[in-house]
Amino acid sequence: MPYNSIELMICLAARNLEDESIVVVGTGAPCAAAMLAQKTSAPNLVILFEAGGMGPILPSMPISVGDSRTFYKALAAGSMPEIMETCQRGMVDYTFLGGAQIDMYGNLNSTMIGTDYNRPKVRLPGSGGANDLASLCWRTMVMTVQNPRRFVEKCDFITTPGYLTGPGAREAAGLPPGSGPYKVITDLCVIGYDQETCRMQVESIHPEVTREQLVVNTGFELLWKRDLTVTSSPTEEELRILRAEVDPYRYVISRAE
């Protein structure tokens, strides 16, 4: 069955969410991935939203992280500190983030493009909850299209911590040990992190994508996993559920670049 790049990323992201775990998501593709996971391999996944929604039965895709869908028939409707503190306490397994730039250590920029903080070329929204979630959740996943403007040697601004400058840097900065970047799911490949160097390491390449494409679309040197595989495509079942139940109005899955 044919699929577009957003559909592919959502299906791959969903597979990375273990059942009986807790995830904090934003709106859009990450939320679609969490919803798809609930309807496939992780029926008991608990979804939290940073504004306070906990374990809703999502009737449709939320538009805002704080809209009423995020706590529709929820287990609890709390507060932002409640969610952030649940993360800080060590109860939250996953989060999904995005950003305008990402470097090889998984550091993210969503603050500004340019070199002068006081006169940014482009002002972006800032951390929002991203810095908090990447600091506090056990495993941070990123879903993003892959191109040299996004995958950069050095972020113009490190809004949100990945592995910072490499091994030991998170712990040295005071961030909770054992937390950190986990996967980057792009339109070209699935990336993990090399344990020794904390650098991005390609784990599987999507069907019909070449290594050269990855190199060209990445502004830093990628590491390659020894047993590099071809990403297994979305199943018909995954695509059917995604299209029919998760995003019937195609708000998210129509946005493929």
């Binding site: 934003g26 709106t27 940073e50 504004a51 306070g52 929604g53 009737p59 449709s60 895709m61 939320p62 538009i63 805002s64 992280v65 704080g66 809209d67 009423s68 869908r69 995020t70 706590f71 409707a77 709390g78 507060s79 932002m80 500190p81 952030m84 800080q88 603050t111 903080y117 006081n118 006169r119 940014p120 070329k121 482009v122 002002r123 972006l124 929204p125 800032g126 951390s127 929002g128 909850g129 991203a130 810095n131 908090d132 600091s135 506090l136 601004f157 490190i158 809004t159 949100t160 911590p161 910072l164 840097a169 040295a172 900065a173 005071g174 961030l175 909770p176 019937p248 109005y249 708000y251």
Partner: protein
């Protein structure tokens, strides 16, 4: 290095001194009097040029839109803003050129809807001085103030440029030795919160998520409450565990039905995505934006006129059906 970083650090717009705040709160009235006034008077009397304000809700959800409009209408200037998920609220205030400094956690964006060109320009030109934080950090800064302590430790921002361009300091934990972020208490001059129900004294109830409003209400030196509806005082006393904000935090109460429009109000009405799109589109040219602002804010007398212009009582039932998932309406 430490020194070098210091010079890049942003400044603390508000004093985190808990003793000074205590002195203020010592003299804040505890009188349980009728605090109902108009939006116009509340903004006139409680918000002054130069004040630092904090807005409740979450950007396009449960926002005190009527007060935000009135701030623009009265052309308040040089406000400080807590940019705690400031989306449509930031957009309104930027359109009115009301803000000159901001503790940023999330600004200029409207989540999945896109970015506000007008708000961005205000930052890109340096018109608004920014200091960086995160949503969690600002939430905890309110909480520290609400708790009456000058800072709260947390494990965020550490190691990033967000910290470098914030005014945050690091401290070691006296028990475990780990490095912690010390988040300074944030006592806004004025808090503005839209709630589901309040009595005339300001005792307020919120349904669904509270975001950070339980803390911000207590942290703010002055507090304006707008409510979907006023309820009898006895109703408050019938279910005291529903009171999120007690009267002694509150300085003004205004009944504003549809007061979060075009934002979402849980259990009441969904956001008006058409109107939000119209607003974003109007930002494409300065002329269009001026026209838009004239039409909806500067040339309207009050929020009710704005509601009429944007669909009025004809549109509201549709947003209500969307919110209540009636007739299979979807949220798009």
């Amino acid at each position: 290095m430490q020194q070098a970083e210091e010079t890049e650090k942003g400044r603390l717009f508000m004093d985190p001194d808990a003793d000074k705040a205590r002195e203020f709160f010592r003299h804040k009235t505890r009188q349980m009097r009728d605090k109902v006034i108009t939006v116009q008077k509340a903004v006139q009397e409680l918000i002054h040029d130069g004040d630092y304000i904090a807005v409740g809700g979450f950007g396009t959800n449960r926002i005190p839109a009527a007060v935000l409009h009135e701030i623009v209408r009265q052309r308040k200037k040089n406000l400080g803003l807590s940019g705690h998920t400031a989306t449509h609220d930031m957009q309104i205030l930027a359109a009115g050129d009301c803000v000159d400094r901001c503790d940023v956690a999330y600004v200029v964006g409207l989540e999945a809807r896109g970015l506000s060109k007008v708000a961005r320009r205000a930052y890109e030109t340096g018109k608004i001085k920014a200091v960086e934080w995160s949503n969690g950090a600002l939430a905890w800064r309110y909480k520290a103030a609400a708790m009456g302590i000058p800072f709260l430790p947390a494990r965020v921002m550490l190691g990033t440029d967000t910290a470098k361009y914030s005014a945050m300091k690091e401290i070691p934990c006296p028990y475990t030795g780990i490095k912690l972020a010390a988040l300074p208490a944030l006592y806004p001059d004025v808090g503005i919160i839209h709630v589901h129900r309040a009595d005339v004294y300001g005792n307020s109830q919120i349904d669904g998520i509270i975001v950070s409003d339980q803390d911000m209400a207590r942290a703010a030196k002055r507090l304006i409450i707008t409510a979907e509806r006023l309820i009898p005082h006895e109703e408050i006393r019938r279910q005291p565990d529903r009171t999120v904000i007690p009267f002694y935090c509150v300085d003004a109460v205004i009944e504003v039905p549809y007061g979060s429009y075009p934002g979402n109000m849980a259990y009441e009405y969904f956001s008006d995505e058409e109107h939000l799109r119209e607003w974003l589109d109007a930002e494409k040219t300065e002329a269009a934006h001026q026209e838009f602002m004239d039409k909806y804010i500067y040339k309207t007398k009050d929020f009710n006129e704005y509601l009429e212009l944007s669909g009025g009582l004809k549109k509201m039932p549709r947003l209500r059906r969307l919110e209540l998932l009636i007739n299979g309406e979807s949220s798009g």
